[in-house]
Symmetry: D2
């Protein structure tokens, strides 16, 4: 089983993005799971194109994109992506869409096709807080999740796809308002590995 | 320099207390700081008595008590303890004081005599979120901090004393409401060590 | 212009539901808007059926369902309903669906067809906090919003539809954890009126 | 019975302060309670001097200062003021003290001498969320509460004194981050009246 896992480059004034930092800490092989890691741009539209390049190059069985959700305290496995782009801050190319479709001819929404319940369960069974999330927002995270599921729906039906949101890394919490939740990068990375195990395990059954 | 650092036993239905778990992970020596670790009961009055036993036995230069603050996201170095005990849940001996003084003849409050600003700064300089807190609540945490500072004021004026609140450990977050902040025990323990360094450093200057 | 506005009966152990209480405070006429109010059951499936009964009986130009969102501090105008029913507590008929579709043959999601941006703007312009929400959850609120938009899509294309989430009423905050946000019923009701004005105004343009 | 109640002028970039706005809505007489209202400056030191002027002029039986606590959702009756001034933003005269005593020769802290439990109970009994707070912070609110209790301790022992924190007014919530709790000014004002009733009632018993 081969899984392509992506993480965003930093955005919004942060110097690191815990998503890609945690992805980088993953091993290349975990049991019989081959893990291919890729950094993608925090840019509407571009992110999805880079993901498709990765799909074509690596022919994965599943694709999981990972992004930062600064206001969350746990690992959030996303259930649904919606066909809507709205940005309260510009992306890394200066785009700031408002009330725009991600794909003109796409469905209103797509559900993740990875086993979100099993993923959350496996992460929690290993002692790391996690939950299903029912909104990936309307920024580049939702946009690339939508693009991925749209691509799968139209062109790559044998691939499973989804998205995971992760909290700020511990270091990022310094200087943020008191009360801002954080998680160690090593813990986030372990959680991602448990998520991948669940994807691979489901696939076997 | 010898520092006595204490952590509470579990309470409130939790099976572990991140305070003592993190204390246990500390080394016995850090530079020229000798670290003496002690578990104390989560019981009003008793906690302070056990702390005094530790003072008599170990003759420390400073005493720092550590407790869990489930609703915090960062390391909270407490600035003040107040002469008031109020419990919304019973302590581990079944006591549930309401509107009671910690010490009949004590001051209304005592400020910590450890260098809280330097401690917070050193923790943050090492990439771990921390802040000064101006309330240790009214449960056993505040009570033992008050008892410690009362003892120092009356009987052990050469000792410096204070209290540190720590978040839930990561594992404790599983099963708690989504949004509950946590921190790795190893990170909490590192933060405690940076706090001790600041106490020792201040002492040298 | 005739608008049908519904509020749920109490659920989850609450003795009142601020949604219907606020709906009841609305006038029957506001300018040239005729307001028809209806209480609907907090029951998966049934809620949507009662809404359709209201549509058939009153032939409204728009239908807005209103529900309580206990963890919100402002008026939340929902943007999208998803084809998923998951309940962490039973509804008022004892149903507790998990990972079930709202409508077997429905789309993955429907966007609200009321002018959510104009509604939020008009509420805020009158000094009441409001925002667009991108998840109505997976409980009966999302379910009835989905049912409404499904009905509109399939059978009543000339009707506009959507959903508004409101905070706890002030009285409900007594006894809840410190930090629980609330809003006066009279304020919630005014916000609903400003929302209806925006729906009617958009219709004129 | 005569009660002097004060509210701060706006600060921190806000155009109104819900504290004084709510105070202004109070009647001049409530049963046999004579209510004297006074606006005080949001300035360290000055606030306390103006309060003393009010004491000398009006000879009240009790003094209650009221301030805004932007991050709270309920009415917070303060239990204790500490001898510490630390400001993260300048006050209205540009002062920004850090680690400074409020009164050089004052106690470490003073407890409120108004009946905080009875006040919270009476507010809640009337359907408005309230709780005892154990920290008034370290800004001008804590400072004036400290000054008041210091004055009472040293010079006016027959007067009772304390402090109440109130949330943002509803209008202030517009433009603030989603999730910011607010309360109607009329509700805040009612809560203050119920608090005064409890002060007067306690006095009779």
């Amino acid at each position: 089983m081969k899984i392509l896992i992506t993480g965003f480059e930093p955005f919004g004034g942060e110097s690191v993005n815990p998503a890609y930092e945690a992805v980088k800490l993953l091993p290349d092989m975990a049991g019989d799971i081959q893990i291919v890691k890729m950094e993608i741009p925090t840019v509407f539209g571009e992110a999805g194109k880079v993901v498709e390049t990765g799909i074509l190059q690596h022919q994965p069985d599943a694709v999981i994109c990972v992004g930062q959700a600064g206001r969350r305290a746990d690992i959030g496995v996303e259930r649904v992506a919606i066909n809507l782009a709205e940005a309260s801050i510009p992306d890394n190319a200066g785009n700031q869409p408002m009330d725009v479709k991600v794909q003109e001819d796409g469905d209103t929404a797509y559900f993740a096709t990875i086993p979100v319940k099993a993923m959350v369960k496996n992460i929690k069974d290993h002692g790391i807080p996690a939950s299903i999330s029912y909104t990936a927002g309307t920024y580049v995270c939702n946009s690339v999740m939508y693009d991925l599921l749209y691509l799968i729906d139209r062109k790559y039906p044998s691939i499973r796809g989804g998205f995971i949101h992760v909290p700020y890394a511990t270091e990022q919490g310094v200087g943020k308002p008191v009360g801002t939740a954080t998680m160690e990068l090593s813990t986030i990375s372990k959680a991602l590995l448990y998520a991948l195990e669940a994807v691979a395990g489901e696939d076997k059954n």
